[in-house]
């Protein structure tokens, strides 16, 4: 059980500072990205009126998330942000499912991945707000309802990033720690496949959906 939380790191000195790379996580992220690109290539290679199975899968994703984005953002804005939402969900789902395959790990198990996605969502939401309402109206939003609520509003905005990324990280890391400890305790008998199915497939899908929906909601709060 000593390998709990052990990470293979590559430390590169740059101008007197040290840059740390988590090699496994980067590798796993690239696996996910290549898998998604391959899926996209297969789905759009031969576009037909009567679609093949992979094209159907792609159309389901795009359809569903376009409808969701339209619900939350309105027709015009949805066109701009629906691809982002759809891609985010597909990336997260594939990342969370990756841990089911032996010897592979979920990239979301490392805090850096969810945190960077959360920060990305944060900046996109505020960019959308500024673009839609204009800088002045956007800034005015922070001084609601009275002037000195500004610090509290700022903290509230930052807390959104913390909560959205720690939720994903906590669930995925918790699942993988539980699977590891239980497999160690029962000598890999019988239980771990069920735990893998529950934490990897079920919880992974739900948390990916929650993360995507929250990003969408944050954008829609800024836009409307």
């Amino acid at each position: 059980m000593e390998d709990l939380g052990k990470i293979h790191q590559l430390i590169v000195p740059v101008f007197g500072h040290e840059m740390t790379f988590n090699l496994e996580i980067i590798l796993m992220t690239w696996i996910v990205i290549i898998g998604l690109l391959f899926f996209g290539y297969l789905a759009t290679r031969k576009k037909r009126i009567i679609p093949g199975p992979i094209q159907v899968l792609g159309e389901i994703f795009v359809d569903q998330f376009y409808a969701l984005a339209e619900d939350a953002l309105g027709k015009e804005t949805a066109k701009r942000y629906a691809p982002l939402i759809c891609a985010l969900f597909m990336f997260l789902v594939l990342s969370n499912w990756l841990g089911v395959i032996p010897h592979l790990e979920e990239p979301t198990k490392d805090l850096n991945t969810p945190l960077s996605l959360g920060v990305m969502g944060f900046f996109i939401a505020h960019y959308a707000g500024i673009k839609k309402k204009g800088l002045k109206a956007y800034m005015k939003g922070y001084f609601e309802p009275i002037f000195f609520m500004m610090p509290l509003n700022l903290i509230g905005e930052l807390a959104k990033v913390v909560s959205i990324s720690f939720r994903l990280f906590g669930n995925i890391m918790g699942g993988s720690i539980i699977i590891m400890v239980v497999s160690y305790l029962v000598y890999n008998l019988l239980l771990p496949p069920f735990l893998n199915a529950f934490f990897g497939l079920f919880v992974g899908t739900i948390q990916a959906f929650v993360f995507t929906m929250l990003t969408l909601v944050y954008i829609s709060v800024q836009v409307n």
Partner: protein
């Protein structure tokens, strides 16, 4: 048993992390359960709105869970950073 100052501080950090996460888990979970229950009741009344209600339930639960996540952050900070 001799107790030095840093030891005492570290020990209480452990205890503090435990209490923070343990008690912090009660409230959000109860609230989320209540939200899920009410959403299920509403779906029972109007099954045709199930998609919208499920989405609203998830967003509501996600916001409710924030305090639980803050407890987790504090506990992790106490364990690893401070």
């Amino acid at each position: 048993m001799e107790i030095s100052g840093p030891d005492l501080i570290r020990a209480f950090e452990m205890l503090g992390a435990a209490i923070s996460m343990g008690l912090g888990a009660i409230g959000p979970a109860l609230g989320e359960g209540y939200a899920a229950g009410k959403a299920l009741e509403a779906i029972g009344r109007r099954p045709e709105e199930a998609g919208l209600l499920t989405r609203t339930m998830l967003v509501g639960q996600a916001v409710t869970e924030s305090t639980g996540i803050y407890s987790l952050v504090i506990a992790l900070l106490l364990l690893f950073v401070v």
